[in-house]
């Protein structure tokens, strides 16, 4: 009897955990192992491995006795790293967090139907196909008189046309990604604000708090945990995101972040791709940076407490 029961338990465990385990192995662990192996080969267009070496990493890192750390980064890689940092930090702070927070605060303060309408509008970029969204941006910032932005600048303000592709390429990808990222922040924060018991707002109003005091003393303390969550997960997502950068800017050097670099060196069509081992090496470094950033943010935002138990008190 006992034996049979144990067997059934094992089968049940397999049925319930099996799909998740397979998913984890095939889609997450296996690619990382493949990436790790390929990074130390010379695999290129022919997809043939002739030797194992650290040649790819030598393309990225060069030993240099004069520098403080004893090595220096190759120019293209260094620039990609810096651009990734700028891209992630600005998109995250300006849009995903600040703008998302403003949207959540304003749309929850409005009457329900109006707030809901605004939120729905802000969700449109996320719902529309990325190619359509990117095409719209390309039209908006078109450097000729045809571009929407230039039409406004010329006809409304009387300025000359501007070429954002050349003058502010990073701003383009920050704003384009931010408009999408803000909606996620907005959704998470909206639901967090909604989960604050109504009586707390009533109490604060009766205690004499105005709208700004209510935001500061009632809403913001509650949003601490959702904000940590957005910061950690969105920074990781942005670090490896290249979809909109590629669709809007193409393989331009001016917006070549780490993820873009790895993509253009390997899979992007017709632009000197096929350097699989090199791309794998870049990806490996990206993975390592991702892990470090995740652990740092985890500590910094005290995420452990967030995961441990619900922080929003429901009465």
């Amino acid at each position: 009897m006992m034996h049979k029961q144990r067997q059934r338990q094992a089968v049940n465990a397999l049925i319930f955990l099996g799909p998740a385990c397979i998913f984890l192995l095939v889609l997450l662990v296996a690619p990382i192992i493949v990436d790790l192996v390929v990074a130390f080969t010379d695999m290129a267009q022919t997809v043939r491995v002739s030797e194992f070496s650290n040649e790819q990493f030598r393309k990225i890192i060069r030993p240099n006795e004069d520098t403080w750390l004893g090595f220096e980064l190759r120019g293209s890689f260094y620039r990609a790293l810096a651009k990734t940092a700028i891209f992630v930090v600005f998109t995250l702070t300006i849009f995903n967090v600040t703008f998302g927070l403003l949207l959540a605060l304003t749309t929850t303060a409005l009457p329900d139907w109006l707030g809901g309408t605004f939120r729905a509008i802000w969700l449109l970029p996320r719902m529309s196909p990325s190619v359509v969204y990117a095409l719209l941006w390309i039209w908006v910032i078109d450097p000729t008189e045809r571009g929407l932005l230039n039409q406004v600048l010329i006809n409304v303000f009387g300025f000359g046309p501007i070429n954002l592709f050349i003058d502010h390429p990073m701003a383009i990808i920050v704003v384009a990604n931010g408009f999408i990222g803000a909606s996620i922040g907005m959704l998470i924060l909206t639901s967090a604000i909604r989960s604050i018991p109504q009586h707390l707002f009533f109490a604060a109003r009766a205690d004499g708090a105005g709208p700004l005091s209510i935001v500061r003393h009632i809403i913001l303390p509650t949003l601490r945990w959702p904000l940590s969550y957005i910061t950690v997960f969105q920074s990781l997502a942005l670090m490896v995101s290249f979809e909109y950068i590629f669709l809007i800017m193409g393989p331009a050097r001016s917006t070549m972040t780490m993820a873009m670099l790895a993509y253009t060196k390997t899979l992007a069509p017709q632009i000197g791709s096929g350097q699989y081992a090199y791309g794998a090496a870049i990806t490996l470094i990206l993975i390592i940076i991702g892990v470090i950033v995740a652990l740092l943010l985890y500590r910094l935002t005290n995420m452990k407490r967030l995961l441990a138990k619900p922080r929003i008190e429901v009465h």
Partner: protein, 356 residues
């Protein structure tokens, strides 16, 4: 402190009417309870007074001045919520100081006031705790202190005791009454629990479906209810209500005809008789016992008589009567209340001549 007046106040939520043309005057320093079943509009009335909701029509006046459009923060009203609504991210002390933040109180004054009020509600030892570290009763005291610290003109209590266990409820009941008396603050207690209302308040407003049924003392609500609803809502075990009809000088109820006198008008009536006013004897209304419920100090019997089912209380701890036993029910005919079944209003001047 202030006298408070509601003039023809209504609150509509779309097609639903939460409060229906309510008129009410409260005296300075009075402790009033609003009693009614859930959904009768009692909490809405409270929030109208606090300024959290705006009335759909009518005027709310504090000391004669219309304050319909005055923001909650300018009304100087303290509220204790059923959920206590303590700010979860602040310590007890910060919760207490929060209302003073908006009152231009100096730091020393604010702390002195906090200490004073903490002593009044006996939470001096809890000031550094967070709300999540407090028991229900302690949270209740903190909520009360926070409502009182700004010396409100009006204290509103929204079901403040319903989240506490039975013994704590008893303690807090007398505590709140003591504090109210000490501060002499005009207080409105909203509750669905008649014991809370009758034990704490000077006057009780009995509400149903957004309308006031009766405003009176606990005793009058119990002994001389104006309407069937008040009679049935106040009192436990509930009053006996029997349908009947007055036919000239006779009350026809079930298969029985009882003589009535006074200014009788032939109409459908409901008669009411409190269970403790019925006893058994040698003579009276014949009935047979159908249910026995020992309640500790007394026993609640249910007996089927010819006029209908009647419950009565016997003050003996042991059942003296058995199921299906035949008894005679006695009552002072003057204790029987008459209500117009149609309007629900009590009929005065009609008297039962004999209860048998």
């Amino acid at each position: 402190m202030a006298s408070i007046e509601l003039r023809h106040v209504s609150k509509h939520w779309g097609p639903t009417i939460a409060v229906d043309r309510m008129n009410l005057t409260l005296e300075d320093g009075e402790f009033v309870a609003i009693l009614g079943p859930s959904g009768c509009g009692k909490s809405t009335t409270l929030f109208l007074l606090a300024g959290i909701y705006a009335p759909t029509e009518g005027d709310i006046c504090f000391e004669g001045a219309r304050i319909n459009d005055v923001e909650p923060r300018d009304r100087n009203v303290g509220i204790v919520f059923q959920s206590y609504a303590l700010y979860p991210n602040m310590t007890v002390l910060k919760n207490l100081l929060f209302p003073l933040r908006f009152k231009n109180t100096s730091n020393e004054d604010a702390h002195a006031r906090a200490m004073e009020i903490a002593e009044l509600v006996q939470i001096e030892d809890l000031l550094e705790r967070e709300p999540s570290q407090l028991s229900g009763g302690q949270q209740q005291r903190v909520a009360l202190a926070r409502a009182l610290i700004k010396k409100p003109n009006l204290l509103l209590l929204d079901e403040p005791l319903s989240n506490l266990d039975a013994t704590l409820r008893l303690t807090m009941r007398s505590e709140i009454k003591r504090i109210q008396r000490e501060l002499a603050v005009t207080t409105i207690l909203v509750t669905h629990d008649q014991v809370e209302a009758t034990t704490m308040a000077d006057r009780i407003i009995c509400m149903k479906d957004g309308q006031i049924e009766q405003v009176d003392t606990a005793e009058n609500l119990y002994r001389r209810p104006d309407r069937i609803f008040v009679a049935s809502f106040v009192g436990s075990p509930p009053i006996n209500l029997v349908q009947g009809r007055i036919d000239k000088t006779m009350l026809v109820a079930g298969q029985r005809r009882l003589p009535v006198s006074g200014n009788t008008v032939s109409t459908n009536v409901t008669i009411g008789l409190r269970p403790e006013l019925i006893s058994t004897g040698e003579q009276g209304l014949p009935a047979s016992i159908v249910n026995i419920e020992p309640m500790g100090r007394e026993i609640l019997y249910a007996a089927q008589s010819e006029i209908g089912l009647l419950r009565f209380l016997e003050a003996t701890p042991q059942p003296r009567l058995a199921l299906e036993e035949h008894v005679h029910l006695k009552a002072d005919p003057g204790d029987v209340l008459f209500f117009d079944t149609g309007s629900g209003q009590r009929i005065e001047g009609v008297r039962l001549d004999a209860f048998s």
